[in-house]
């Protein structure tokens, strides 16, 4: 039984975290909203007054907008497909009896702990460099012409780098979910003569559906925001300018704050649509 005294103490203890997060959320958000309705060019005259929805219209009608949407969709969709499909297969494999399971787990998880700038640069130079990269060596070995990956196949290359970073996360979560699967159920199905594929489709996969949804939502939120991988590999060139990168360029490179802020508001709305679904799942879990 919580007393009146402990209730007010609890409120005081919660206050710093709540107040700080409220400020962290509201102050920049309100500023972005205000800027988005202004013509605001710090390097060329500063605040040039209100312009209504002009920035919102200009952001979506600029020639860079739709390519950035498709680049974003390709990267997010490609990485999600790869990490989830391979994540499920890898999780099932790692759940089988084997020697040295702990070590394999460590090997598989390792990429997640590599900072994004390192993984992007290592892939860009040591693997994808058209003259000295390992892929170039391999291509020449088979008598093929080396590919300059990041300009000729820029989007697949980025998808590969980012998938390498996120596969461990998907695998680890799906593995945790698989381990909670009741093995008796699988054994019973095996006894009844259900073939492996059917056991996978009717027992394992349904059991994993919640974990897959969570991986999907969490990764989407992080993938929509990837930045360093593009910053150090292509700098947004060769069709790799995502929505996030486009907004970054509008704000910091061309210093068109109004336009960039309108883009920022679009990004916030987009992320919130994904977040609502994630919060529902997490919220349900809180009640249990």
């Amino acid at each position: 039984m919580a007393t009146q005294h402990s209730r007010s103490a609890a409120r005081i203890m919660m206050a710093p975290a709540v107040v700080l997060l409220l400020g962290w959320m509201l102050i920049p958000l309100i500023m972005t909203l205000i800027f988005s309705f202004k013509k605001y060019l710090p390097m060329r005259g500063g605040d040039l007054g209100w312009v209504g929805f002009e920035n919102y219209v200009r952001f979506v009608s600029s020639s860079a907008f739709w390519p950035s949407v498709s680049a974003t969709l390709i990267i997010v969709g490609g990485v999600l497909a790869i990490t989830i499909v391979f994540g499920i297969l890898l999780a099932i494999l790692l759940n089988q009896p084997m020697w040295g399971q702990g070590v394999v787990r460590i090997l598989v998880i390792a990429p997640f702990f590599v900072m994004p700038t390192v993984s992007a640069l290592v892939w860009k130079n040591m693997f994808m460099d058209p003259t000295n990269g390992l892929f170039a060596h391999l291509w020449r070995f088979f008598g093929a012409e080396p590919v300059s990956w990041l300009s000729e196949a820029s989007l697949p290359s980025i998808v590969l780098i980012v998938s390498w970073q996120w596969l461990p996360f998907a695998t680890l979560i799906l593995l945790t979910a698989i381990q909670s699967l009741d093995s008796e159920q699988l054994e019973a199905a095996e006894m009844d003569g259900a073939p492996p594929l059917k056991r996978f489709a009717f027992i394992t996969l349904p059991h994993l559906s919640r974990a897959v949804t969570i991986v999907l939502l969490i990764q989407t939120i992080f993938l929509l925001a990837i930045f360093a991988e593009i910053f150090v590999t292509t700098g947004g060139a060769f069709g790799t300018r995502t929505l996030t990168y486009l907004i970054f360029q509008r704000v910091l490179e061309s210093q068109n704050i109004g336009l960039g802020s309108a883009g920022g508001v679009y990004a916030i709305i987009l992320a919130n649509i994904v977040a609502i679904f994630l919060m529902r799942i997490v919220g349900k879990n809180l009640d249990a």
């Binding site: 598989v108 702990f113 900072m115 360093a228 970054f248 992320a271």
Partner: protein, 276 residues
């Protein structure tokens, strides 16, 4: 008969898992190996795997040429400072939500989580402007505060899930025995909460160490941590594979080691307790 089939399956599983595991780990292994090669060996065609003259010259070159110690120190201060500050602010909040829950606790937790979903790029300019106005652009204190706020929702959530597993009866018993709120926290709760706090510390230190949006956009010469140091190798230094590898190895080694200890917390921490 059945036994040999089982062993056979185990051998196949082991081979497949090790093969895939090594394939996934290969870029890291290759980076570490390359860091011990000379620049000429590093780009040799066909590539040399192990049979080369191991050298430390790249490490000394990186340490001499760049102010590596300063970047490392910045990373430690920023990641460590933001994590510790976050824990100090989050422990009381998580404590009160776990032990004195009210009708609004769930809403507050979910709202905190929602702040984590805001895309950083959407508020890039406001934060940039605030830093300029306060004169803290390119300072460690700015990044300590920003990364703390960024990770605060995760810290509160992780601590909350750990605290909720501590049986409330123990706290009530202490209260019955006349323990004050301070004593209750100091002598009863803290010892039981230390493992949870330690895991939270570990995971958030890793997340802050690897953060590469704010650290790249808000730092220049003074406060740049290792993420920005490596990004500066983008070109043309990046073409010196051996030195790039040495710099990369130094930036990721501490976190790889810490990361292996945090595998378990990773799942519940990053899924906000939705997968355990």
């Amino acid at each position: 008969m059945a036994r040999s089939v089982k062993t056979q399956r185990k051998i196949i599983n082991t081979a497949a898992a090790w093969g895939i595991g090594l394939l996934i780990f290969f870029p890291i292994l290759w980076t570490i190996l390359t860091s011990f090669k000379t620049e000429a060996t590093a780009i040799a065609d066909p590539p040399v795997f192990l049979a080369f003259n191991w050298t430390m010259e790249n490490y000394t070159a990186v340490l001499e040429r760049s102010n590596y110690a300063k970047f490392l120190w910045n990373s430690i201060i920023i990641a460590g400072g933001s994590t510790i500050l976050g824990i100090i602010i989050a422990v009381p909040a998580a404590w009160s939500m776990a032990f004195v829950p009210s009708r609004r606790t769930k809403d507050i937790l979910l709202w905190m989580l929602s702040t984590k979903m805001l895309p950083a790029v959407g508020v890039l300019y406001p934060i940039y402007l605030i830093c300029i106005k306060l004169g803290i652009l390119d300072s460690r204190i700015a990044l300590v505060i920003i990364l703390m706020l960024m990770n605060l929702p995760i810290i509160v959530w992780m601590l909350y899930t750990y605290f909720r597993e501590i049986p409330g009866e123990i706290l009530e018993a202490a209260r019955m025995d006349g323990a004050s709120l301070k004593e209750e926290i100091l002598y009863v709760l803290t010892p039981m909460a230390i493992p949870g706090i330690a895991s939270t510390l570990l995971l958030n230190f890793i997340l802050a160490w690897n953060e590469a949006f704010w650290t790249l956009n808000l730092t220049a010469a003074n406060a740049a941590p290792l993420t920005a140091f490596i990004a500066s190798y983008s070109s043309p230094e990046g073409l010196f594979f051996a030195k790039l590898s040495a710099a990369s190895t130094m930036a990721i080694a501490p976190i790889l080691i810490l990361g292996w200890f945090s595998q378990k917390q990773l799942v519940s921490g990053l899924t906000f307790g939705a997968v355990k």
